[in-house]
């Protein structure tokens, strides 16, 4: 699926995740967040940057690992991205939906 978000042409898969991380910009992240009904604060960005950093290093993500990362506690993670913290934050961060386990 192709979409124009924040003035940028980007590719999304059928679940709304970016298929090419290089198309991600801060504005794209903000636009996706808005669709998810989330207004991004510094605390959100801290998590998003952490996720992107892990993604670039090919490190698989899980909720508990994030909770232990000193970036956010699991409770705060749920407060920031209610319904499905890891799924929604990954979508905003422009990285693939975490497969978590395989």
């Amino acid at each position: 699926m192709e979409l124009v978000l924040a003035g940028n042409q980007i590719q999304l898969n059928d679940q709304g995740y970016l298929t090419d991380f290089s198309q991600w910009t801060k504005e794209v992240g903000e636009a996706i967040a808005q669709q998810e009904g989330i207004a991004l604060t510094d605390a959100h960005w801290k998590v998003i940057h952490y996720l992107q950093d892990q993604h670039k290093q090919d490190i698989p993500l899980s909720i508990r690992k994030i909770g232990k990362s000193n970036v956010v506690s699991i409770k705060e993670f749920y407060d920031l991205f209610p319904t499905g913290p890891l799924k929604i934050s990954s979508k905003i961060a422009g990285i693939p939906k975490p497969a978590s386990c395989i």
Partner: protein
């Protein structure tokens, strides 16, 4: 004399010793292994112990028995790895020097990571089956349990053998059916994933099977605590699932010694190059099996494929040659579905579990992603294959370390 030191004499460590011993000259290289256990457990058997399908004797052997003769096995608890001085310290105070280190310390359950999991109900109405003790205690419980709400639960991913909890649910369905009490048992499968499995293709097939067997599924559930008094599990979003008998897979973490060494990630897994299996800690440290942070399944079959590739890379490393980037994340596992049937899935880093036949294109005899009796026999034969072929580092007939694509209907993961 140079020393190759292997930490852990479980599935992966044993395979490495068996692969490397014949390749390394006995006069130049000493192979030393360290493990705290006296027993080698056949962990896939822990799935069958609770249902009295296997006896305790069938899942254990002396830890030395599958090892080659010319290795030294030290029975001790590892304190830590000290990469700066190429040493491993043991809790008995000994320091071992190494030239090459292989970390194969696996993963263990950490029930104390979830509040209340090891509360009053632990091993009374809250059980794990990922340890020998847990699996036996659950067997005793199931022998006399009168029925009620059975909750089969995964705390979080990654866990070793990610399909084992599903298989447990299927086998429970079959077990209570045969006992003539299926009507008195409500089975619910609770998972942090959206559905039965992580890969959409297999999830579809497995969700269908769960439904067919009358197993309810609760997805997107990230456990926050176990309430022993009310007998409910509660997730971070406040969702509750009641149980009379909770069979849980606690969080899985790497060995404590990884934490003590300060060389792992938050879950004590070893950062490892996913194609070469060289650790990111130091160039003479390698890792395989459940101990790594690779985005591959934590399974004996994966360790088997990794062992072939790591053996080649260790030989290249010794010769000073560049390492091969050849591991593709290949995994294949039987999924026991109860009533003497099973299915088989085969996948890697980029290919989804596929429909088709395995291992011979067009012939089988094992069918991928379809329930069959032949697959069940395959799963049962796996115990023999494990002790006699897998641990010995012998290739499984027709199965190669990299995934074959012929005979399968492939779908690539984005």
């Amino acid at each position: 004399m140079k020393r190759l030191l292997i930490l852990g004499a479980g599935t992966a460590g044993t395979m490495m010793a068996n692969h490397l011993r014949p390749k390394l000259s006995v006069t130049d290289w000493e192979i030393v292994m360290v493990d705290q256990e006296e027993t080698h457990y056949y962990q896939p058997g822990f799935l069958f112990l609770p249902f009295d399908i296997y006896t305790p004797e069938q899942v254990k052997k002396p830890i030395k028995s599958p090892l080659p003769r010319v290795v030294t096995l030290i029975q001790a608890t590892i304190d830590k790895v000290v990469p700066e001085s190429n040493e491993v310290w043991l809790q008995n105070g000994d320091h071992l020097h190494y030239d090459i280190l292989i970390i194969a310390t696996g993963t263990q359950i950490a029930p104390d990571e979830v509040e209340g999991m090891m509360g009053e109900g632990w091993q009374k109405d809250v059980f794990d089956f990922y340890t020998y003790e847990g699996s036996l205690a659950l067997r005793d419980k199931l022998r006399t349990w009168n029925g009620g709400k059975l909750v089969v639960h995964i705390s979080e991913m990654p866990i070793k053998c990610p399909v084992a909890p599903l298989e447990f649910a299927f086998l429970a369905d079959s077990f209570f059916h045969h006992k003539g009490m299926r009507d008195h048992v409500e089975i619910t499968f609770v998972t942090p994933l959206e559905g039965a499995f992580t890969k959409p293709k297999a999830t579809e097939a497995l969700n269908y099977l769960l439904e067919e067997k009358g197993v309810h599924i609760v997805g997107d559930f990230n456990i926050e605590h176990v309430d022993n008094e009310k007998r409910v599990i509660v997730d971070y979003a406040g969702k509750e699932v009641p149980y009379d008998l909770l069979v849980t897979v606690p969080p899985n973490m790497g060995s404590d010694m990884v934490e003590r060494s300060g060389i792992g990630d938050e879950m004590n897994f070893i950062p490892t190059n996913k194609a070469t299996l060289q650790s990111k800690v130091k160039e003479n440290i390698f890792a395989l099996g459940d101990a790594t942070n690779l985005p591959a399944s934590k399974a004996g079959s994966v360790a088997h494929f990794e062992a072939e590739i790591l053996t080649e890379n260790i030989m290249l490393f010794i010769e000073g040659q560049p390492l091969k980037e050849s591991f593709d994340g290949h995994a294949n596992c039987f999924i026991e579905t109860g009533h003497n049937k099973a299915l088989l899935i085969d996948f890697n880093y980029t290919q989804e579990p596929v429909e088709g036949v395995f291992p011979l294109p067009g012939v089988g005899p094992l069918s991928l992603l379809k329930e069959s009796r032949v697959n069940h026999l395959g799963k049962m034969a796996f115990r023999w294959v494990y002790w006699h072929m897998l641990l010995k580092g012998r290739p499984i007939p027709f199965v190669s370390a990299n995934m074959k694509e012929a005979g399968k209907i492939l779908e690539t993961i984005e």
